[in-house]
């Protein structure tokens, strides 16, 4: 066990996976000598050389498209998109190529590849550096979408993503890269993709969230439970594709109330999908309408207003109050 930040856990996992399997190669912008703009790949080029840790030209479509090519021919590429907002450049290669190669070759080909990208707000970035775009990929059959919320999860989930035989979009909450440390085992372990984590059990209400908003939700719940006679269950989804129906439904059937929290914009977002799922399979267990606390339906705004735009403690608190008022 070593106490480490999420960025250190990601770096360690990449290193271990590259040692374990020489088919694993990393490619992306500024990931070599510079070690990535957040240092996720720091030191890897020095260990594994320029052939396996590649500084590419600036071309996201080429990065993802080449990864599809590599993956279908025996390698296990881990591509980095410097910020998730830049993945629009690679949208065809992600959604129409990587996601579909197994399907359109009727199972003859597959693309065991990972696309890593930092995402999420609250860090005062320029435009298109903070957007939460996971919903686009939830809506693209053939891609797995994974979002860790802690150093421990990052390691187990990233290792599982690299060893998965399907393309995985691995989204790293920028705000949590260095937010806290926790004990992470050096030895190998995997966290199953598609399995949610019940962070805390409760009876009165379920909060469903993932990635960047998990620590925030934990704090809010802690504060509320200190002062009110309430017991709240928190589910960290860890992956939105595959989505862990069982855990969500079992929880909501128990509590009868659900609040969904994510930074992605509201309309057509992961919250809409989760809410529909509950309605289809557990409607009669609900005692209150489901509430979504999310980004608003606008482009991610300028830094001076982002704290109000994002789901914050007050907004989550109000959402909880509203659901409990029924």
């Amino acid at each position: 066990m070593t106490s480490m930040t999420m960025i250190e856990a990601i770096n360690l996992t990449l290193r271990k996976e590259m040692e374990r399997d020489n088919k694993v190669v990393c490619l992306g912008e500024d990931i070599g000598k510079n070690g990535g703009v957040f240092r996720a790949t720091d030191g890897l080029q020095a260990v594994f050389g320029e052939e396996r840790v590649v500084d590419t030209p600036i071309a996201e479509s080429a990065i993802v498209g080449a990864a599809v090519g590599m993956a279908t021919r025996g390698l296990r590429p881990v591509a980095e998109i410097q910020f998730l907002g830049f993945i629009y450049e690679a949208m065809d290669q992600m959604a129409a190529q990587a996601a579909r190669i197994r399907f359109r070759s009727a199972g003859t080909l597959n693309a065991p590849m990972v696309v890593r990208a930092p995402f999420g707000g609250g860090v005062r970035t320029p435009e298109l550096h903070s957007d939460s775009l996971e919903g686009l990929f939830l809506h693209s059959p053939g891609l797995k979408v994974v979002m860790p919320s802690s150093p421990y999860d990052a390691k187990g989930l990233l290792a599982a993503a690299i060893r998965d035989n399907d393309p995985v979009l691995f989204l790293e909450p920028m705000k949590l890269y260095r937010a806290f440390k926790e004990d992470v085992p050096e030895e190998d372990y995997l966290l199953e993709l598609g399995k949610a984590h019940v962070l805390k059990e409760g009876e009165d209400l379920t909060i469903i969230t993932y990635g960047p908003t998990v620590p925030l939700v934990k704090n809010v719940v802690e504060q509320i439970e200190k002062t009110q006679n309430l017991s709240i269950e928190i589910i960290d989804l860890r992956t939105i594709t595959p989505i862990d129906e069982e855990t969500i439904l079992a929880s909501v059937q128990k509590t009868g109330r659900a609040v969904i929290v994510h930074e992605a914009v509201k309309t057509g977002g992961p919250g809409a999908e989760i809410s529909a799922l509950i309605n289809e399979k557990a409607l009669f267990h609900l005692t209150a309408p489901i509430i979504r606390v999310t980004g608003f339906d606008t482009p991610y705004p300028v830094p001076s207003v982002e704290d109000d735009w994002l789901p914050n403690a007050t907004r989550i608190g109000e959402g909880i109050k509203e659901v409990l008022s029924h």
Binding site: V37, D55, I58, A59, Y88, D297, T298, V302, D308, P311
Partner: protein
């Protein structure tokens, strides 16, 4: 016949050498223009240095300094006519100032104020483009619009060496050639794209030669020589106005970090930086003007003082501008707010809970 790579010889246009001495016949640039060019460079550098300071004090957000690229930016923008349009990236403070964007506007942008995106209100300058390469296609479309509407306007896309790897760049050059558009692609090859050197960005020995593949004109110019840039850009704009698109590669150097969030010691040698400080664009132009007896140290000092005051005033204006309000973000999504946006806007008072 095999077309071998990098066979074409590309001669870099230069007017002044590194010490400010003329190396070719003097282009027809009058003293007033010389002074104008230099004074803009002084303003750009002064703004840049202040912005760095303010960022360190936490009074503005992330900033991409342009120090070292003043000749490329000022020389190119100085050649534009008022009706021409500029499509900048995030490092184009110098060029944008010349074409009519206020310093205050730039401060608001870096302070994360919505008003920072309003450059096009008072000048023919698109908002700062963050997505590498995207602006090239907008310039193509803008040029196309001016062609179809018979406007005498050239569109100029500003992009970096790294940006030339992006598909959008190549698609833009191709369209420009196919439709013979009044457009100029102005590439500032500052040798670095964050941590990646130009040599790893493309196997071409120059960026200028890429024009040939798209059937358009290319030229390489010493981007630290403001007179070379200015005269080259005048010619490029003249051609573009006649429907002959041009790719200009200005060879310059990013003296500072990529942005205030970057640590260049991680990937480049100090000796390289130092060798480029010798080729500083302001130094060179100043030496030339002193030789020509139209400038001296005293005037120089005064010019920096004037620029400093200007920057101070602009920053005061920006600081006194009210912060953006969360309510405002709903106003610019569509011409008319959808029902959902209306609801969400009014839910701000109830912390986003719909009542």
């Amino acid at each position: 016949m095999w077309i071998e790579p990098n066979e074409t010889e590309v001669n870099r246009v230069q007017v002044l050498n590194e010490t400010g001495k003329l190396v070719r016949t003097y282009p027809q640039i009058c003293d007033e223009e010389l002074l104008g060019l230099y004074k803009w460079m002084v303003q750009a550098r002064t703004f840049d240095q202040r912005a760095l300071k303010l960022q360190r004090q936490g009074r503005i957000g992330t900033y991409a300094p342009m120090i070292g690229q003043e000749a490329a930016q000022i020389g190119s923008a100085f050649a534009l006519k008022e009706q021409d349009w500029m499509y900048p990236s995030y490092r184009e403070v110098g060029a944008s100032l010349v074409h009519g964007v206020s310093m205050e506007n730039f401060f608001l942008y870096t302070m994360g104020n919505l008003q920072g995106g309003t450059s096009a209100k008072n000048a023919n300058v698109f908002p700062v483009q963050i997505i590498i390469g995207a602006q090239c296609l907008h310039a193509v479309g803008g040029a196309w619009a001016s062609k179809l509407q018979h406007e005498n306007s050239v569109s100029v896309a500003y992009i970096g060496d790294g940006g030339t790897s992006q598909g959008d760049f190549h698609e833009a050059l191709n369209f420009a050639g196919v439709y013979k558009l009044p457009v100029v692609f102005f590439v500032q090859n500052n040798h670095w794209a964050i941590s990646v050197p130009r040599s790893k960005q493309t196997a071409s020995s120059t960026i200028a030669q890429k024009a040939a593949a798209y059937g358009i004109t290319g030229i390489q110019v010493d981007g630290n020589d403001v007179l070379a840039v200015y005269s080259t850009m005048q010619e490029a704009l003249k051609r573009a106005r006649e429907g002959k698109p041009v790719l200009v590669e200005a060879v310059t150097y990013r003296q500072g970090p990529h942005t205030t969030a970057d640590d260049p010691t991680k990937y480049r040698q100090n000796t390289e930086v130092e060798s480029w400080l010798e080729k500083d664009p302001l130094k060179r132009m100043k030496a030339f003007m002193i030789d020509r007896n139209i400038w001296d140290e005293e005037l120089d000092q005064k010019e920096f003082e004037i620029a400093n005051e200007k920057v101070t005033k602009a920053f005061q204006l920006a600081e006194n501008t009210p912060n953006s309000k969360t309510e405002e973000v709903f106003d610019f999504v569509f011409e008319q707010k959808t029902k959902q946006l209306q609801e969400q806007k009014s839910s701000i008072g109830t912390e986003g809970v719909l009542k």
